[in-house]
């Protein structure tokens, strides 16, 4: 799966979770950029992304990823 495809599918998950069709995530997006992205919504986002890509983040990854770009790195490393 190309990086673009991952971003495209990821973007849909973000839009569903935050119920906001205007969201466009990029490499640098962080929780500061999306108003409803607080720690409680974060868990739902992680679960939804795991389901979308059929993979699991481990605790270390969830606690250290800095932005959506790093999240995509992990997804690609996991699903090849």
């Amino acid at each position: 799966m190309s990086r673009e495809e991952v971003f495209e599918r990821l973007n849909k998950v973000f839009r569903d979770i935050f119920d906001d069709k205007s969201i466009m995530v990029n490499e640098e997006t962080t929780s500061n950029d999306i108003e409803d992205w607080d720690s409680l919504e974060h868990i739902n986002l992680i679960v939804a992304i795991e389901q979308e890509f059929g993979m699991k983040f481990n605790m270390h990854e969830v606690t250290t990823m800095k932005n959506v770009g790093e999240m995509v790195d992990i997804i690609i490393s996991r699903i090849g």
């Binding site: 679960v47 481990n58 969830v62």
Partner: protein, 593 residues
């Protein structure tokens, strides 16, 4: 909404809950309720999921959520926000993470018993404190099993084991539940077993977010809580409508012949249908009505139901529709004949196309997505359609009551004059102020009655108990029996005394089982008598239209009241002056003094 019935797609719900919520909020006639969640771990997503499942049952929740792990403090020491919130339901979400002191191997039996007692007492104090402060219903989690066993298998049988300790603690919870009204156990021990304990106890979510369970299991938990709540508010299903071929037996009776049906102990495919028939039949003891809706010649359907290996016989059903009409029309007919809303039916049919048509045409009908026969029971059962909360003796007799009604209809056909028919029933009524043994039934009736209901005001058991104690209310129930049987408590009137000589009727309901029997006249006679004893001069009645109560739109006119106002929504106010005398209206029912 089909997406919110079991088995549901968890990832769809997690991703789309906001959209689903918006859609459900747009429905008319939602019942508002205040729900306090007192948590011993993170509860945010539990609240979100509970909200959509409740909306799907027509209940619109407003939530209070305790601060993280402040369930004990909120309950015992109080909290202004919670006090002002005035909850209808208090849900206590605690898990084995909230057990403070487990036994250790160094403890002797006395110490372990003390630990057990102190864990239990902590909760008992919470419940008693909440009951003393609020007029609400408490829903309390029991404890799920721990995810590791220090003693291995012995953890279950040895008093030092955590599993043994949890089992004993749960047992104490159940004893409290069985002796306390308005208190219900949310059985997370069972729900976590069904989900799979190892998955349920995924520790990632605890260490990351202090969720005491897998976040993906939350829809199952919330669904289970919502089932208890909808049952409390009378939103359980009331009847099965069952297909026959490949639903109650394997094969098609009209084509294959009765001797070739798969039913009975000889072959696996027959056993599975026998077990399903047994499962359905068990529901009769809960007062669930069984009906048939099948595309078949009537005589073939009856022959199939008389199959020697079948446990369901024609006599077990109230209405059997075996014909070639569209099934959605049959369902509407059944609803009309039983005087029930079609939204209180569970329609079981192996054919997905039939399910879809009926679902499309009948709003609120439940049509479980049964797939293969060996899964029928699990899928129907896990939907919790008939969740038992307040079970009354009336429920157990329900099937007989409907059978009696069928006999009355036959007899009515033999009379030309309706009054003669009523007299021939030799009706006897008991009309009296509330008695404690009937409070449960009265609350149930107030939540179930939709058609003969002037104000559609709902009363939980706690609400009814409050009315019962309050001297400013005149509160009457009515029981009715006749030559065919006892209908039990079937009508309730609650009037509020204001300004010394006014009685305002907050609630007037009657079960549709006893329509057109003049019971409403007998009730008014009794109400006026009571009102006079309290020096009431004027009785005020109210009619608030809903989608379901058109039947009583002229009720007060027929009772001799005078309409005094009507707003643009059709809400009407009536009055009846009783200061200049009143003539009794009932002359067909003998009322016991």
């Amino acid at each position: 909404m089909k997406e919110l019935e079991y088995p549901f797609d968890v990832s769809y719900l997690i991703s789309n809950k906001k959209k689903i919520k918006k859609e459900l909020l747009a429905k008319p006639g939602l019942l508002p309720k205040n729900i306090a969640i007192l948590g011993g771990s993170t509860t945010s997503e539990i609240k979100n999921m509970l909200e959509i499942f409740l909306l799907n049952h027509g209940i619109k929740p407003t939530f209070y959520e305790s601060e993280y792990n402040k369930f004990y403090e909120d309950a015992v020491f109080g909290n202004e926000e919670l006090d002002n919130f005035n909850p209808d339901i208090i849900y206590i979400h605690t898990t084995n993470r909230n057990i403070m002191e487990y036994p250790t191997m160094y403890n002797d039996e006395n110490v372990i018993n003390e630990k057990l007692n102190s864990e239990y007492e902590k909760f008992r104090i919470i419940w008693d404190k909440l009951f003393s402060k609020f007029n609400s219903t408490i829903i309390q989690n029991n404890f799920e099993y721990p995810y590791y066993r220090l003693l291995g298998n012995k953890d279950a049988s040895d008093i030092h084991g955590k599993i043994n300790f949890i089992t004993r603690l749960n047992q104490k919870f159940y004893e409290y539940a069985s002796s306390t009204k308005n208190f219900f156990i949310n059985d997370i021990n069972y729900v976590s077993s069904c989900y799979g304990l190892d998955k349920w106890a995924n520790q990632f979510y605890w260490h990351m977010y202090k969720y005491a369970m897998d976040v993906q299991a939350i829809p199952y938990l919330a669904f289970n809580i919502a089932n208890i709540i909808k049952s409390i508010y009378g939103k359980n299903k009331k009847a099965f409508v069952l297909d026959l071929d490949n639903t109650l037996w394997g094969g098609i009776v009209g084509d294959d012949g009765i001797e070739n049906l798969a039913l009975g102990p000889e072959v696996p495919s027959g056993q599975v249908y026998t077990e399903f028939q047994n499962y359905l039949k068990e529901h009769k003891s809960l007062g669930i009505i069984l009906n048939v809706n099948s595309k078949n010649e009537h005589e073939n359907a009856i022959a199939g139901l008389n199959h020697p290996a079948g446990t369901l016989k024609p006599d077990d059903f109230i209405i059997i529709k075996a014909n070639w009409n569209p099934k959605n029309l049959n369902i509407k007919d059944i609803a009309e004949e039983l005087n029930l809303g079609a939204d209180s039916f569970v329609f079981v049919d192996d054919n997905p196309a039939e399910r879809q048509i009926c679902r499309d045409y009948i709003d609120g009908l439940s049509t479980p997505e049964i797939d293969v026969p060996e899964n029928y029971i699990r899928i129907i059962d896990h939907n919790g359609y008939f969740e038992v909360t307040n079970f009354s003796n009336e429920d157990m007799k329900k099937n007989e009551l409907y059978k009696d009604n069928a006999k009355r209809s036959q007899m009515m056909a033999t009379f030309e004059n309706y009054n003669d028919y009523l007299l021939s029933l030799k009706m006897k009524a008991e009309i009296s102020t509330f008695k404690s043994i009937y409070l449960e039934r009265i609350s149930q009736l107030s939540n179930k009655s939709n058609q003969f209901n002037l104000t559609t005001k709902r009363y939980s058991l706690a609400d009814i108990e409050a009315v019962d104690k309050d001297d400013n209310y005149i509160k009457l129930y009515g029981k009715l029996e006749d030559i065919f049987g006892d209908n039990g408590v079937i009508t309730v009137v609650i009037g509020n005394i204001k300004n010394n000589d006014e009685l305002h009727i907050d609630l007037w309901i009657m079960s549709c089982r006893v329509l057109k029997r003049n019971m409403e006249f007998a009730m008014l006679d009794a109400l006026v008598k009571k009102a006079k004893e309290r020096n009431i001069k004027t009785i005020y009645g109210y009619y608030y239209p809903t989608l379901k109560n058109k039947m009583v739109k002229d009720f007060y006119d027929l009772q001799g009241f005078e309409e005094i106002s009507c707003d643009e929504d059709g809400n009407k106010t009536y009055k009846l002056d009783i200061s200049n005398g009143y003539t009794n209206k009932n002359n067909v029912i003998e009322v016991e003094k």
